[in-house]
Symmetry: C2
Subunit: 490 residues, 2 copies
């Protein structure tokens, strides 16, 4: 056995153990008995301990020193393994343990502070988290930019500078579009009717299938917060239902189907290796958002969906497919990122990106977070935050130490905008298929041009290869202005 | 930290990882997508590899050499850990790997042979399994009796000699009872009616609750072969349904509830330690069989169940609780162990025990297995085996290398007989409660006198402590002859 073979055999087992940890998380969010939470914590800690030990195993370093990649796939494998090895080793065990302990407690403190609408109750805890994350970032940066080092965990190769340019170009156009839409005379209708849970879930399964989700290697369950989980031949998704809002269930399912189809489409030859998973959060989000928005909320597809809704639920309060298209794309005032429409969603993310960079570089104190948040929100959305649970306490991310994660949501939207433009070029009659509920020309193009590669190329590289042009924010903004301009007549 | 504390901290993580492996098996049998089987095999191999490495970790030996138990519980912990450490180290890695590989293939060959009713197609594979298991047994025996060494894996402290005495006393009385019953003039009726799956499962949940199963730390799902899984605060059970036989579902559930309640009742102070699980297969089976048979098929409890059946399903073809009691306890001709009634079940096990001992000591060749099986079956059951799937190919156990496992089923029945006798002494008005569907006096007595101890005492010891007398086959045989003599008038 060569050093490369030894390393890959070892890594394959690590991947299998990582897959097990993911399966435990799925179990916890879907089927686990409530009383098992504490025990599960101990189980998770045990498997994480095993994984951590393997990631910093000195043999990995020795193999990496000697290993010669047999081909381009092998080079990508080594790149992923070295990256994980270096990052894990840079954070001292003491700091990793303190971060784990602190964020585990902080999540509870955050939830209490949010429930009590009391930012100050969370401030000391968040200060501690931010301080530890800054320390972690400096270890990871190894002399480079600390925020970039955090970002690199979710989006390898991305930098705050490049994102700042991109987001800076997006913000004024999005604010302007949002302003025009919310002031428009025409406002689309809302659905009204009876939407039984079983019927929502049945249509949800049909939609997942229509987008190419393979139930032979997956399943759908309910969860409080929808997510997709797993890779290779076991990729599961979850959804949720709301009695008066069927779109919550249906579009959550389509979104998670996008994530899951990406994993299911990766070349099986890469299974149980570092190259065998989605390459970054941003590219992952590009797939889920493209399935959900550019395809799922297109005029053509919603025309088909309107018929399926009426078949399923009877009278939904909207007879006309054109009005239904407006309804599905309704832009509405709101404070919550996860409930935001396509137009305003990125404004929520841009706000968080700018604020978290300041928290990490120290130019904003945690004590001043609420004030900064509220000022920025009013500037971008046009109305003031009414309470902390609608403001800086709405997301769990910072309490669990996730800094550098938020921008990948908007980067995913930017990539989706690019891929959508390229897809339209490549498949001129896309709308003809979508109008019949047939997504295969779209999902097939994505599978062949992007998804199958998994982690073979770098994130930005795989998008550029698929598109045939360098990714930028322009296609997304053009798409949004065109689509919503038409719907709202602005 | 003392050596004992170090060892226990290490062991606690091992237990947590073992718990994860068990959870994966549950997932595989209940919710896993079918296409994930191969990937799951790789995941299971990875976690088993981690567990194996921990079980033979030389530090365990060093800690064991130095550790001083702080109390009686600590002594039990050390006993369990040393036993596992010694057993694991005695089997060479080469042999363990070959056994794993061979049995993994053998299970498929067995299934094909059974489907084709072709013993000879399975013979060469079973010969290889038996040969490897004999080798393993000799390693484990360390100069002692090989079969006892295998048995010890499932029932620490039990020996073939002691079981032979016990089973030898059972066989003639059981054959005689079976003979009288099947020749009796009176034969109980069978149920007839509509038994929708949802109603079966709802009543099944009610029964699990009635026997004290805690859904806060458990759940019920469907599986092809019912089982219970997990320990501590996450103990799940499964059941199955048959459209025309509601008892299949209901009594499978009660059986698995017995296993699960044992695990749920163990002192929480022992959680995630070797003492925190059921002490042996035999003691485990004593709980499941006692719940299922001595309680669940008692005249008093079936009187209550009859009412709940009629409430649930309407007309079930039997109006009279006395006739219903006979129906639930019907003794019938049949070839399959898992479908056998209380009277004939142990005859199935005794047959397997005698044959597998001969396979291990070499006095019976695998090539002669079918002939030996069929001769013994006809002698004990009174009619000939009609085909291999109803004979020596019916059970999966031997194909996966489980030798020494079968006798624990009958030992469990023997223990259940003893515990039932002691329970009747301790709770004179047990039937009054059972007639109202109240199992608490029975399950509470078992919890307080046996279940809560987990692995604190040795298997036979914990039964004897609960009973107040040395376990023997007599109470079981007396109970069977009395109960079935009355039902059949023989």
């Amino acid at each position: 056995m060569s050093a490369y073979d030894d390393l890959m055999a070892f890594q394959r087992e690590t991947e299998a153990l990582g897959s097990i940890a993911g399966r435990l998380s799925w179990d916890q969010e879907t089927v686990m008995p409530r009383g098992a939470a504490e025990q599960r914590g101990e189980e998770m800690a045990a498997i994480e301990g095993v994984l951590h030990a393997r990631r910093i195993d000195p043999r990995v370093g020795e193999w990496l020193d000697k290993a010669e990649a047999p081909d381009a796939v092998g080079e990508a494998q080594l790149r992923h393994i070295r990256r994980s090895y270096d990052r894990t080793r840079r954070v001292p065990a003491r700091l990793a343990a303190e971060l784990a302990r602190t964020t585990s407690v902080a999540q509870g403190v955050w939830a209490e502070g949010r429930a009590a609408e009391d930012v100050s109750a969370f401030t000391p805890t968040l200060e501690k988290v931010v301080s530890l994350v800054r320390e972690q970032a400096e270890c990871l940066a190894d002399g480079g930019d600390p925020y970039d080092a955090l970002l690199d965990d979710y989006e390898p190769g991305a930098t705050a500078d490049s994102l700042t340019g991109m987001f800076g170009a997006m913000r004024p156009r999005l604010v302007n579009l949002r302003d025009r839409i919310l002031g428009a005379a025409h406002q689309p209708p809302a659905v009204a009717g009876e939407f039984p849970e079983a019927a929502q879930l049945a249509l949800s399964r049909e939609l997942a299938g229509a987008f190419g989700y393979d139930f032979h290697t997956g399943r759908i369950d309910k969860a409080v917060h929808p997510f997709s989980s797993g890779s290779g031949r076991d990729v599961r998704i979850t959804t949720r239902t709301a009695a008066d809002d069927p779109f919550n269930c249906l579009y959550s399912t389509i979104h998670e189907t996008g994530h899951a189809c990406y994993e299911q489409a990766i070349d099986p030859a890469y299974a149980m290796t570092p190259v065998g998973g989605g390459v970054s959060m941003g590219v992952h989000e590009s797939q889920s958002r493209l399935y959900e928005n550019q395809i799922g909320r297109s005029r053509a597809f919603t025309g088909w969906l309107h018929g399926r809704m009426v078949d399923t639920f009877g009278d939904i309060g909207i007879d006309d497919p054109e009005a239904f298209f407006g309804c599905v794309n309704r832009v509405h005032r709101g404070f919550i990122r996860t409930e935001a429409d396509e137009v305003q969603y990125n404004l929520h993310v841009l706000l968080r990106f700018d604020i978290e960079r300041q928290l990490i570089d120290g130019s904003l104190a945690v004590a001043d977070l609420e004030e900064a948040w509220n000022a920025r929100f009013e500037a971008d959305f046009g109305y003031p935050v009414d309470r902390p649970s609608n403001g800086c306490l709405q997301d769990v991310h910072w309490s669990v130490g996730l800094f550098g994660y938020f921008p990948t949501y908007s980067l995913g939207n930017v990539y989706a905008g690019c891929l959508h433009a390229a897809l339209r070029e490549a498949v001129p009659d896309l709308d003809g298929a979508l109008a019949a509920g047939d997504t295969a020309p779209a999902t097939g193009w994505l599978r062949d041009n992007l998804q199958r590669h998994g982690g073979l190329y770098r994130p930005r590289e795989v998008v550029e290869r698929a598109c045939g042009f360098a990714p930028s924010e322009a296609p997304l903004l053009d798409y949004l202005e065109h689509k919503f301009g038409a719907i709202y007549g602005v």
